[in-house]
């Protein structure tokens, strides 16, 4: 187990810069998620860390050792792929033992270590099967066991859950998370599923076109996005165009006046998360950011209700509210019925 320090890492294909001078430090035992839209360079970055793509420049330091140009088989990095990539001709036992044998681990130690690794993923009973005789979820757990059996310094996972169905994805995700915490293994995982990212990552790295847009905790990225791209990529968001006037308040183009906890100069948009919207059936006596509108429509989202509200100036704000809160507020879900909303200044993020 070790920390990783990546600096100035870059890779160009022809004239296309797939990874554009990335700096990233991952602490020992940390679970970092790299996410971003398709083609933003996540896989390329991971492959440079694993040693399959030679970077054009930059450095990768693993536990104080410069591994930038070290061949993959000397790096001691565990890998897990979206398509499992198990050795099809070897049994589950031999798949997990493969890395141990390559490392010349003592013969008598191999069996217990394979069993240990497999029991960590709850598969010790399937050692004699071939990969094709397992389900997708089981195969992916074998792949995880195979990667951790070598006690790697770092575990790299490229969309490991994308091939699993929704229910299994949640299950393997939680197993992966608790395994990672238990073993304290430094982990970098690529995903483009933001729910997955938010729920397992200690820190998230959001990339776009080969660059890092923001690094931070899930809370940072969700509630304090660095820019519009981050705000838009993570979760659902209301954006209102406008500017900060002399009264220090944000005036939207549709005439909504919002006070915000911070006023970055030159802000052109206000971002409000749907969960931050409060609704009332009667105007609020006082307080900031009380706005009146009319109900446009609603959608049931599992246990919550998504409510679209038309503002007088023609803008539309979406709120996500529990049925119970709606009931307590006395709001009826009738189109065009008046409704009063409010937002705490700390939930108005100006960008």
């Amino acid at each position: 187990m070790a920390n990783i320090a990546i600096s100035g890492l870059n890779k160009t294909y022809g004239s296309f810069r797939a990874v554009d001078f990335i700096d990233l430090n991952v602490q020992e035992g940390e679970f970092v998620i790299v996410l971003g839209p398709s083609g933003c360079g996540k896989t390329t970055t991971l492959r440079m860390l694993a040693g399959f793509i030679e970077p054009d420049g930059g450095q990768v330091i693993l536990g104080g050792r410069d591994i930038t140009y070290e061949p993959p088989y000397r790096r001691n990095i565990g890998l897990v792929f979206q398509n499992y990539a198990l050795f099809p001709h070897l049994t589950i036992f031999e798949n997990v033992a493969f890395g141990l044998r390559r490392r010349g681990v003592n013969h008598s130690e191999i069996t217990p270590r394979v069993k240990d690794a497999l029991s960590l993923v709850d598969l010790s009973h399937l050692t004699d099967r071939l990969p094709r005789q397992l389900s997708g979820g089981q195969q992916q757990r074998v792949a995880i066991a195979r990667a951790i059996a070598i006690r790697p310094d770092v575990l790299l996972l490229d969309e490991p859950l994308s091939n699993l169905d929704a229910k299994l994805r949640l299950q393997v995700r939680d197993e992966l998370r608790s395994l990672q915490k238990r073993l304290g293994i430094t982990t970098i995982m690529v995903t483009h599923d933001q729910d997955e990212a938010m729920s397992v990552g200690d820190r998230l790295v959001l990339m776009r076109s080969g660059r890092i847009e923001q690094i931070g905790s899930p809370d940072d990225l969700y509630n304090r996005p660095a820019n519009r791209f981050v705000a838009d990529f993570i979760g659902r968001t209301n954006f209102l165009r406008g500017r900060i006037e002399k009264d220090q308040a944000f005036h939207s183009e549709g005439g909504i006046v919002l006070t915000s906890a911070s006023q970055p100069p030159g802000a052109t948009e206000a971002m409000i998360r749907p969960e931050a919207i409060r609704v009332r059936s009667v105007p609020e006596q006082s307080g900031p950011n009380a706005i009146s509108g009319t109900i446009h429509g609603h959608v049931f989202l599992g246990g919550l209700i998504e409510l679209a509200i038309d503002m007088p100036g023609g803008e539309r704000i979406t709120g996500v509210i529990s049925p119970r809160e709606l009931e307590e507020a006395g709001v009826k879900l009738i189109p065009n019925a008046p409704v009063y909303i409010s937002v705490a200044p700390k939930d108005v993020v100006l960008l």
């Binding site: 993959p72 088989y73 000397r74 565990g78 398509n83 990539a85 050795f87 099809p88 493969f98 890395g99």
Partner: protein
Amino acid sequence: MQTKPIGAAALLIPATGLVLVFMGLPLIYLFRYSLNQYVPGEFIVDGFTLENYRIFFSEAYYLTGMWTTLLMAGAVTILCITLGLPIANWIARQSGTLKTILLMAVILPLFISNAVRAAGWMVAFGQAGVLNYVLLQLGLISEPLQIMQTPIAVFIGMTAVNLPYVVLTLQSIFEGLDENIDFAAASLGAQPLQSFFLVRLPQVVPGILAASMLSFILAMNAYATPVLLGGPSFRMMAPMVVVEIMNKANWPLGAALAFILLATTVAISILAALFIRRRY
């Protein structure tokens, strides 16, 4: 969903019919001929005799021919696979223009007939040929080597004929391998050579079987190369069939030899397939 297999089977009917008419019937005729009697000077004498088969199994001339054929086909196939595996693996890992050039280099020899290529080898291997000239000039030998008209010449010539087929077959299999599996092997500590033998090779066993059968069958039935490079005293089965039919006008024995050659080839291919299937 239910009608799909039936539809596919229906599509195969014309092809099956063609195979039956143009391959099955001649085979039946061939077999029928092989049971006829040979009367010198007469073309076809109908009969039902196993005499032609008895001749094959009792005369050293024919048995040696079969042995030579089997050994040559086996040796050529082993060499082709040994050379073809690394070449195919290497080509599969290239990309872009280099790959196109390499594939063209493999395919181009297939455009030239075996006889013409054998003529090329004659120029290369002859007493005054290119190889002897170079070796003499280098002082490695003092007398020209006798390569032409030896089994070695046939061995080299047939390997050259079969290698492109083997490389193309294996290359397409290597091409289909998942590169993530190679990445996984490397990340677990396998060096390139270990990766090749422990991970890539076992995945292409069915392909090796297919390529071996292809090479073996081609070699068992080779005609031009053994005739042109092996000289008059070197005998393999296909030339022997021709000798019986064309030179001795012994159709029944020729047919029996052809039938034995066919049966041996098919039997060995089936056994090899069963053996490999059982082990993997």
